[in-house]
């Protein structure tokens, strides 16, 4: 079997299947979910049954429905974070690479300093002042995560910025924005696409961890990290309730990683030897 003209491995196929299934669940959650995300439909931590395939949660809400709605919340927020961090990282990273001089100097040192603090710690400090609302979460994590994108874009951009065609564009008097968009970006796409997958995983795990700590997405919105937190008590009675959303988190990250691995392998095969 082939995708985009490349042979696809079993692992990659599984990865694509997982990613598409999750996207499907996220997009059509209101249609396919049997119950609402906040509806109380039965006993607390009822065992799985014909009506409730995955049982009920700590308040008696349908686990499967909350899982589907949770996919919607968690995935869309993680995607937004990744897109924001890429926009910030690509613009600043390429600008640093193309312009160089003091802009590069200032941006690079600033990013070095930011990266000297673990992301989770910086995030906690910021959230303690700003509170935890969804826009704050998105901005905070995107800004912190864009430092990694900046590093990559600067490194890739430096290699491209010395090419003749960039020099020609400069001599032609093109603006920085034009060079960034038309000369550098298209040539930097493959590593950026891979990085997008990895950064998405990071943002997704990060928001799940924050929600698990009670500092991320707030109830009544269903999200996977928060669902683990809500149901954590069940563990003392041998209940599996917290493991279901935790496993949901794991399967999506594994799926994205499999796709990224496949993309890396085809990319290194086609471009690896010559360049």
């Amino acid at each position: 079997m082939r995708i985009f003209g490349y042979r696809i491995s079993v692992g990659a196929l599984a990865g694509f299947a997982i990613v598409f299934a999750n996207l499907f669940a996220a997009i059509f959650a209101p249609v396919i979910a049997p119950y609402g995300q906040a509806d109380l439909v039965g006993d607390v931590w009822a065992a799985p049954s014909a009506q409730h395939w995955l049982g009920l949660d700590s308040l008696g809400r349908d686990m499967l429905s909350r899982l589907l709605f949770g996919a919607r919340t968690t995935i869309s927020i993680a995607l937004l974070i990744t897109i924001c961090s890429f926009v910030i990282g690509i613009v600043t990273g390429f600008a640093a690479a193309i312009v160089g001089s003091w802009i590069d100097m200032v941006l690079s040192r600033f990013v070095d300093a930011l990266m000297a603090i673990p992301t989770l710690i910086s995030a906690l400090v910021i959230l303690s002042v700003m509170g935890t609302s969804v826009p704050v979460l998105i901005c905070t994590i995107a800004a912190l995560d864009s430092t990694r994108v900046f590093r990559l874009c600067r490194a890739v951009g430096l290699n491209i910025a010395v090419m003749d065609y960039v020099e020609v564009a400069r001599l032609r008097g093109e603006t920085l924005w034009w060079i960034m968009r038309r000369e550098v970006l298209p040539n930097a796409l493959p590593p950026l696409i891979t990085e997008f997958g990895l950064r998405f995983c990071f943002a997704f795990l990060f928001i799940a961890s924050l929600s698990f700590l009670g500092l991320g997405i707030q109830p009544p919105l269903a999200d996977w990290g928060g669902m683990v937190r809500d149901n954590a008590q069940a563990i003392n009675f041998g209940g599996m309730a917290p493991l279901i959303p935790a496993a949901a988190i794991a399967q999506l990250t594994i799926g994205v990683n499999l796709v990224v691995d496949w993309f890396l392998s085809i990319h290194s095969r086609t471009h690896g030897e010559g360049a």
Partner: protein, 315 residues
């Protein structure tokens, strides 16, 4: 070499200083400050001004930064907003607990992962090697709390070997403490093990492909001796680096794991303080975590320099 080490030390101190500014400024330039955080939604301009005055927030930022840092260095880290108590004794106790947990995890994870990494490097592409590969993908994909809860279900609920909550107190003996932290420490070990193992393997494998190793092979030296005597000394710098990065990662992983096991450490304290919006405690915890993180990275760099024989003799 002494010059290089001094440069590194100076850079480390500089980084620490910049980090302290960032943590201070992070709570400073963002909209909303401690006063608004205390009062919440029901604030009036007069009340905010009164609280700002009583906390000394109306002084210029650089003066407050200087006094904050000065007090931190002296060990007087101010008062909690939530209960107006000195935070120093509590932080000291919790820091001890966290270091104990991270220390136990590191004492198991570091030797184990280096050993397994070497075994994988000796037999690349074997079943064992592939197993490690799959394990790495799993552990980087699975959140820490998933591993933690699986361990609780298996070892605390089903088998009943260890306590599910890592309660710890000052009057417990060393062995009782050790028993209490088995599961959280095991979680941390699993989180960092695969990554350290893979990096060790990669470092040794890359040395194994160099010409002097081929020479050793041609001389007929047994493979384990080549790995231990020829490859490992040359791969030491990257291995030390990986160990330090993962120990630094442990410091962050500890936050989530402490919450899972309700362990009274720094991470738990920091998370609680964030939800109470107790900014001074969060700042202090953040600074302590950042200090440990930067410090470990600096130590890694120094050990890397020391372990490189080429740097011992100036050109």
């Amino acid at each position: 070499m002494a010059k290089l080490i001094l440069q590194r030390l100076a850079l480390g101190v500089l980084t620490l200083w910049v980090v302290s500014i960032l943590i201070f400024a992070g709570t400073e330039i963002l909209p909303g400050d401690v006063a608004t955080a205390i009062l919440g939604q029901s604030r009036t301009p007069e009340a905010v001004a009164a609280i700002r005055a009583s906390l000394g927030l109306n002084r210029p930022a650089y003066i407050r930064y200087a006094s904050w840092l000065g007090q931190f260095v002296e060990g007087d880290i101010g008062k909690s907003l939530a209960n107006d108590r000195d935070i120093a004794p509590e932080i000291r106790e919790r820091l001890g607990n966290t270091l104990f947990l991270a220390g136990v995890a590191a004492a198991v994870a570091v030797p184990l992962s280096i050993f397994l990494g070497l075994v994988a490097a000796i037999r690349p592409n074997s079943i064992f090697d592939r197993l490690i590969n799959a394990l790495t993908l799993t552990t980087i994909s699975v959140p820490e709390f998933f591993i933690g809860y699986v361990l609780i279900i298996v070892f605390a609920v089903k088998l009943d070997w260890f306590p599910s909550l890592a309660m710890i107190s000052a009057d417990m003996s060393f062995w009782e403490r050790l028993n209490a932290v088995v599961l959280p420490a095991l979680t941390l070990v699993l989180v960092v093990l695969a990554h350290m193992m893979r990096q060790t393997r990669a470092a040794v494998l890359s040395v194994l492909s160099s010409p002097f190793i081929e020479m050793a092979f041609l001389k007929g030296i047994p493979k384990w001796r080549i790995v231990l005597q020829h490859a490992v000394p040359n791969a030491l710098a990257p291995i030390i680096n990986v160990v330090a990065i993962n120990l630094a990662y442990l410091i962050v992983g500890v936050v989530v794991v402490e919450v899972v096991f309700v362990y009274p450490g720094m991470g738990q304290l920091m998370v609680d303080s964030v939800s109470k919006r107790d900014v001074p405690v969060v700042q202090t915890c953040g600074l302590v975590f950042a200090l440990a993180y930067v410090g470990l990275n600096m130590i890694a760099d120094l050990l890397g320099i020391l372990s490189n024989p080429r740097l011992k003799h100036p050109r």
